[in-house]
Symmetry: C2
C-alpha cells in the first residue's frame, strides 16, 4: 500500500472532529515542538492530535488507516533515535493527555497507568504508598511510560531489577486499523496463547499505539546505600564491577564514568575528585536495613581490593540526590565540553567483555574524533559518545565508519548495537550487523501481521 | 498448504540419513513412549527422530517442510496439555540428546544449554558453582529446559523470581523451513529490533524448534527459610498470603493446599497435621542470612496474626526436602484418592481475587465432581483439579461445562485460563474466553509469519 503522505483539509476536519478543536494542531508554530526528539533528527508532521481516550485513538487510527496516512505515536519526545520523528509526514498522536495513574495495589503489586503518565510521577506515587517501580531512564523526570514501554527503557537500576519489559503485565493497544485489543494478563503468570504483549514491548511504535498499561510493582526497599569509588584507570574500574559479581553481589546500580565524563560533571559532584582519578564508579545496593549494610560493606571491600584510589559511602539523601542529579545531567553536560557534535551510541556487551570493549574504544579515539564513555557498567551497557571537532562535525563518512566499527565490535564480543535506546532512524542501517537477513525478514512479517498497510511509524527500525 | 500426514518409506530413508540409523524410530513399540505426554491425550507419531545437533534439526525440518509433514518438538513429555502429542501424525523431534550445559559464568551470570538439558540438572550444576537458576516446575527432576522455554514454565519460586521468560537471554531456533536463527542477545539488555525471542518463549512449539538457549543466572541466595502454617479454613490461608504482601514481603514461595490436597500427601509430610487444619501454606523466604532471618520472623508474625492454628519453621534441609518432595508429589498423589478421573486446570488471578475464586470453586464442587485446589498462591496461580467418580468420568459435557465455568470465572476476576501449563490441545477451545477474535487472528498471523506452511505442531493452541 502506498502511503499518501498528505493530510487534506477534509481529513483535518475529520481528525479534528475526533479530538475536539483545541487538540488538533496544524499551525506550523504549533507543530515545531513536535518536529524533533532528543536525537538530531527532525521532520515536520502535517498535524498533531492529542486524544484523551483509547476510543479517540482508535477513531484517529481508523481514519489514517483508511486514508493511508503515516502515524507516529509520541510521548515526551525524549527518545534518542528519532523514533517519534514524523519522517514521512502524516499525523503525530501525542499521548500526554492520557496520563492517569490508578489502582495501585499492595496485595496485587500492580498499578494501571495511561501511556502519557510521566515515569517519575509513577515512581513518586508508588513510593508514597511504600511501593516501587524500578526502571529509571535518565529522562525519568519528563519521559512518559508509554514511550518507556515502546522502547523497553532501561536505566541505572536494571542491573538488579531489569528493564521495562520485566514490569509490563498487560497492555491495551490500538491497532493500526483502529481495533482495540488487550494483550498479556494482569495475573502474575499467564501462558495463554502467544506472548504478543512482549512483542509490543520495545516495538518502537511499529505495531500499534499503546493506550493503557498495567505495571508490576515491588515493595519499596527499606534502605539504599550509595558508594562511589575512584580508580586510577578505566580498566580497573570495569574490572572492579566484574569483581562485585564474582563476590556474589548484584548491586542495584553500577555506573561507570571515564575521565572525560567525570570532567564534564566535576563541579556538580558532592565530593572532590583528585587529578589521579581516571574513572568513577557509582555502586548502589538496597534491601532491608541489615542486607543493605552488609552488601555495602562487602562492595566497599571488593572495590578497595580491586585497587580503588578511594571508596566512600554517600552520607545522606542530599548527597545521593546531588550525585544522581549530576549523573543524569551527564548526557547534556557533554555538550559543554567544546566539541561541535556528539554522536551517542549505547552498545551492550557481556560484562566479561567490557575491558576488551574499552580498550578497543581507546584505540580508535583521536583528538578530532574523541570517544567519551560512561554507562550502566553493571549491565555491560556502555554509552559511547563520539565527540567531533568543528572541522569533522560534518564528515558523515568518518562518523559512519567509526560508529560501524564500534557496533561491529559489540556484536563480535557477543553484544548488541543498542542496550536501551532502540533503533529508530539512528541505527536502522546498522541493525543488519546484529540480525541476520532471515531474522529481519521475520521481524518485517510480524510488523506486517500487526500493520498490513504499514502506516505505523513507517520506515523506522528497518527501512521500507 | 495441505499437510500430507504420511511419511513414506522414501522419506523415512531420508530422515534416517540425517540422524543415523539408531536415532530414527519407526517401530510401533519404539513409538509408543512418544505417543503421550502427562496429559490424557495420545496419538501415534509416524516416526521419532533424535538429532544431536542444530544442523541435524535443520535438515529434518527442511525435509518435513518441503514434504508438508507435521513436526512436533518434544522434551521429556512432561507437559500437561498435549503440546507434544503428534495429533496429526508426522514426525516427533526429541531434543533429549542435545543436553549440553556449559559456559556457566559468575561475571556474566549466564550459561548456555541445549534444549534437552534437564532443568534440575542445570539447577544442580549452577548451585555447585554458587549460582542459581530459579524456575522450578514440579517436574524439574526430569523435564527439559527446551520444554520449559516452549511453555514458559513457572513453579513455586515464581512469586519472587519470575518465570522461565525472565531467564531467557538468547535463543537459537530452527525455523520450520530449516533455517537457523539467533534471537535475543547474550547482553544483559538489548532493544535491537522486535523482541522475537520473547515471542518464541511460551509459543509451545508453534514457531520453530529451540536448539540452544542462553539462560540468565543469579547468585545463589545464602540462606532459605521455610515456614509452614496451618489454618482452620482455606479462606484464612489465602487471606494470610495477601497479608504477607501487605506487610511488604515478597516470599520466594507461598504454596497453598486445601484439605483434600493435604489429605493426599499427609503421610509424606515431616510434621503432624491436626483434624482442625483445613489448609496448609508453605512460605519460603531467602536472601542473606540476616535478611532471611528477618523475613522469616516477619512472615511468622503476619501468619500468626492472620489466624494460623500453627506456624512452624522447618528445622533443617532434611525436613525441607521431605516437605518439597511431598509437595511436588501432590499431583500424582491425587490419583490415589479413589476418583476415576482427574481434570487439572491452572487458572491464575490477581492475588486479591483468590478468596472470591475459592468460594466460587467451593460453590460448584459436589461429591460426584469434587474440586481439589492447591497451587502457587503467591502468584494467584491455583491448580484446580476436578475429580470425577466412576459414573461421571465419561461425562464430557459435564466436564466441559464445569471447566468452562471455572475459566470464565478466572477471566471475569481479571485472570487467565492458564498460569503455567499452556494451551496445547487441552485448552484451545477455551482460549477464546480470554483472547478476543482479533487477538487470536493476530496470533495466527504471527504463527504464519514464522511457519507459513503450518507444519509446526499443527492445530495446537488454536485449531486450524
Amino acid at each position: 500500500v502506498a502511503l499518501r503522505h498528505q493530510i487534506t483539509k477534509g481529513l483535518i476536519k475529520r481528525l479534528r472532529k475526533v479530538v475536539g478543536r483545541p487538540w488538533l494542531l496544524t499551525a506550523p508554530a504549533d507543530l515545531i515542538p513536535y518536529s524533533r526528539d532528543a536525537s538530531g533528527f527532525s521532520a515536520m508532521p502535517e498535524a498533531v492530535a492529542l486524544p484523551e481516550s483509547a476510543e479517540q485513538v482508535c477513531e484517529l487510527l481508523a481514519i489514517c488507516s483508511s486514508e493511508g496516512i503515516p502515524v507516529y505515536p509520541r510521548g515526551a519526545g525524549s527518545g534518542t533515535v528519532g523514533g517519534a520523528v514524523a519522517e514521512k509526514g502524516g499525523l503525530i498522536i501525542s499521548m500526554v493527555r492520557m496520563n492517569r495513574m490508578e489502582n495501585f495495589s499492595h496485595v496485587d503489586l500492580l498499578c494501571r497507568v495511561g501511556p502519557g503518565a510521566v515515569t517519575g510521577a509513577i515512581q513518586k506515587e508508588a513510593e508514597r504508598l511504600g511501593l516501587f517501580y524500578p526502571p529509571d531512564p535518565a529522562s525519568l523526570a519528563f519521559c512518559t511510560i508509554g514511550g518507556n514501554v515502546a522502547t523497553c527503557a532501561g536505566g541505572a537500576r536494571a542491573v538488579k531489577y531489569g528493564v521495562t519489559r520485566d514490569y509490563v503485565r498487560a497492555l491495551e493497544v490500538a491497532l493500526a486499523d483502529g481495533c482495540l485489543v488487550r494483550l498479556g494478563s494482569e495475573a502474575a503468570k499467564s501462558v495463554a496463547g502467544l506472548d504478543l504483549a512482549r512483542a509490543v514491548v520495545g516495538s518502537e511504535g511499529l505495531l500499534g499505539v499503546i493506550t493503557g498499561i498495567t505495571l508490576r510493582l515491588l515493595p519499596l526497599p527499606q534502605e539504599v546505600r550509595t558508594l562511589v569509588a575512584l580508580f586510577g584507570s578505566a580498566q580497573m574500574a570495569l574490572e572492579g564491577v566484574s569483581r562485585l559479581f564474582q563476590a556474589g553481589l548484584v548491586p542495584r546500580c553500577a555506573e561507570f564514568m571515564d575521565r572525560m565524563s567525570l570532567s564534564a560533571i566535576l563541579e556538580g559532584l558532592p565530593f572532590k575528585v583528585g587529578h589521579d582519578a581516571e574513572s568513577l564508579l557509582i555502586v548502589e545496593v538496597d534491601g532491608s536495613r541489615a542486607a543493605a549494610a552488609e552488601d555495602a560493606a562487602l562492595a566497599s571491600k571488593v572495590l578497595a581490593e580491586a585497587g580503588a584510589l578511594d571508596v566512600r559511602q554517600m552520607s545522606g539523601p542530599r548527597d545521593r540526590q546531588q550525585l544522581w542529579q549530576a549523573r543524569r545531567g551527564l548526557s547534556p553536560a557533554i555538550k559543554r565540553l567544546g566539541y561541535s557534535r556528539k554522536v551517542s551510541e549505547d552498545v551492550c556487551i557481556p560484562r566479561s567483555a567490557m575491558v576488551a570493549m574499552l580498550e578497543f574504544l581507546q584505540g580508535i579515539s583521536r583528538p578530532e574524533a574523541a570517544i567519551l564513555t560512561f554507562g550502566h557498567a553493571g549491565d555491560g551497557n556502555l554509552h559511547v559518545n563520539l565527540l567531533l571537532t568543528q572541522e569533522n562535525a560534518g564528515d558523515e563518512a568518518l562518523i559512519h565508519d567509526i560508529v560501524e566499527k564500534i557496533m561491529e565490535k559489540s556484536v563480535e564480543l557477543g553484544g548488541t548495537i543498542s542496550g536501551e535506546h532502540g533503533i529508530g532512524m539512528a541505527k536502522r542501517d546498522y541493525l543488519p550487523l546484529e540480525h541476520s537477513s532471515r531474522v529481519l525478514a521475520l521481524e518485517r512479517s510480524v510488523k506486517e501481521a500487526f500493520d498490513p498497510k504499514g502506516i505505523m511509524n513507517p520506515a523506522k527500525m528497518f527501512r521500507q
